[in-house]
Symmetry: C2
Subunit: 324 residues, 2 copies
């Protein structure tokens, strides 16, 4: 645990230092605000732990760690506009606290700030790192586009859903682990294994996020429980419930999806029960665990630094067991 | 003229090729649309001419040229949302033709595509190029923020205005010339002179744009003449007219600025006349020419390839003499 706390401290200090050099408050205050909301900083932690696992000092990879956290927060600023999400970690999202134009422009700057941090990495490793970061960034946007497309479609398959969350969420975790390892050892092939580990962990985390949106602890969850259900969002749980359901269960689920102005509490409770009945909840937990175990198995073969590997495992397990 | 035509052809072919590799139409069609609207491609032309002036083949700098054009078009997609500008080159702007979310996300992808092109540049020159591009990109966003801030302020000085257009417009022209020269010769100091030339040309072009918005040829101008005047936009012309005006002229201008629901044609005609009377139009033309001449003077000392330099001069003069 010590290593994780040290890593998080390094990241928070790095963020403070990277954010304090600018003026023009209309542009930069929304950025400071979004970082003041906190967050688990999973991506930079994974990146720095990967560097440690490959025997490098975290300082070597710190600017890349800030880059992935900046990029992630850029996506939050823009996604919250597109998803009309008024809350972020229990506080007004940037476009709500300020306005849409501010969230657009501050988000743009935040993306460029990610590239500014990336540009500070070892010049010999920069060309490949930049190329991989660009690919990852494009994929994240494509994932967001697929997510939007799915809202307007009647049927989405589980495979399509998994590909969407791979793009929207997992590739950035994959890139984070790739970058930490590659900056540490310059070995692209080995870093590629870290990429696949991060990608699988990302899948596990996202399925857990879907689960928590319906079954998390209301006292700890930053937003209202059941938001996905109320919006008929095509999550793993809903898609799997529809896939598993027999005729009568399918009709029952469809009835709730199509109901105009349902009582929110009733709809949420009912669908949570139907998800359980269909076996979708068990399937989600099984799928989550399977991604996680596959990630850890690949990781264990890499001969990485053991203290850092144990820290990674303990962090991941806390994230996957969490109730908020 | 031959060199310019060849340069433009190379750029258009490069754009076609860089845009055709993607699917996911919801995300990429808006990007193809925005390029189909055309445009003068001034930034990539300047970049490639700078490479030629320093004796390199244009192919060396083509991906950087596409990068600046992609970045410029990204700013158009997002700025049109922020400025609520329904038209772009006489056609619906992206957020109008599609919707705001599409313009946000396609714009984001376009910015990343700029970095994808940049990543293809010579690896030895990439670190500095990326650093300079990032700085330029941040400055463009800061310029847009200042432009927005000025809308909500009563008084803006000419110096503040010039700094705003330097950031919003000129630094990208400066970077374009820097990048072409630097990719050609690897000489940062010499490339810096190209930067200053491009920056000054950008100032001249922007003052010309302000002028054309009020005095351009309605038959050739892509949007309605007098848009800036109708929106009380704090352009060089308005700020200079207010600075030059004696008491009675100042009152007359202020009266039109404050009038609720004026007749548009009348307001436009009247302010065009008041701008002339105040000497602001003459001052704008003088300022524009002074920036341009200073740019050409710096350029002439560089010992650049003469054919390319003549092409640059002839292109610039056409742009500065244009009526639309």
């Amino acid at each position: 645990m010590n290593l994780i706390k040290e890593t998080q401290k390094l990241i928070e200090e790095g963020l403070v230092s990277a954010l304090k050099t600018h003026n023009l408050p209309e542009l930069y205050n929304p950025i400071s605000y979004t970082f003041s909301l906190g967050g688990k900083r999973i991506r930079p932690v994974l990146l720095l732990l990967s560097a440690t696992m490959e025997g490098a000092s975290q300082q070597t990879a710190l600017s890349a760690a800030l880059a992935v956290e900046f990029f992630h927060n850029f996506t939050l600023l823009h996604d919250d506009i597109m998803d009309a999400a008024p809350l972020r970690r229990g506080k007004p999202s940037v476009y709500k606290k300020y306005n849409t134009n501010t969230a657009i422009l501050s988000g743009d700057v935040l993306m460029i700030m990610a590239y500014e941090q990336l540009a500070k990495c070892d010049a010999n490793r920069l060309p490949l790192l930049l190329k991989r970061f660009n690919r990852c960034a494009i994929e994240v946007c494509e994932g967001q586009q697929l997510d939007i497309n799915f809202e307007n479609r009647l049927h989405v398959s589980i495979d399509e859903y998994l590909e969407m969350i791979r793009l929207k969420t997992s590739v950035l975790l994959g890139f984070s682990m790739f970058a930490g390892a590659y900056l540490a050892n310059g070995n692209e092939e080995k870093a590629e294994t870290y990429y696949r580990v991060g990608e699988k962990m990302g899948m596990a985390f996202q399925i857990q996020d879907d689960y928590l949106d319906s079954y998390g602890d209301p006292a700890l969850f930053g937003k209202r429980i059941g938001g996905d259900i109320m919006m008929n969002k095509k999550t793993y749980l809903l898609l799997k419930a529809l896939e598993n359901a027999d005729d009568s269960l399918y009709k029952e689920i469809s009835k709730w999806l199509e109901m105009k102005n349902p009582n929110p509490d009733e709809k949420i409770e009912k669908l949570k029960e139907l998800y359980r009945l269909s076996g979708a909840v068990d399937d989600a937990i099984r799928m989550r665990n399977s991604y996680y175990e596959s990630a850890m198995q690949a990781m264990s073969k890499l001969g990485a630094d053991q203290e850092a590997f144990r820290a990674l495992k303990s962090l991941s397990e806390r994230l996957l067991m969490r109730e908020s």
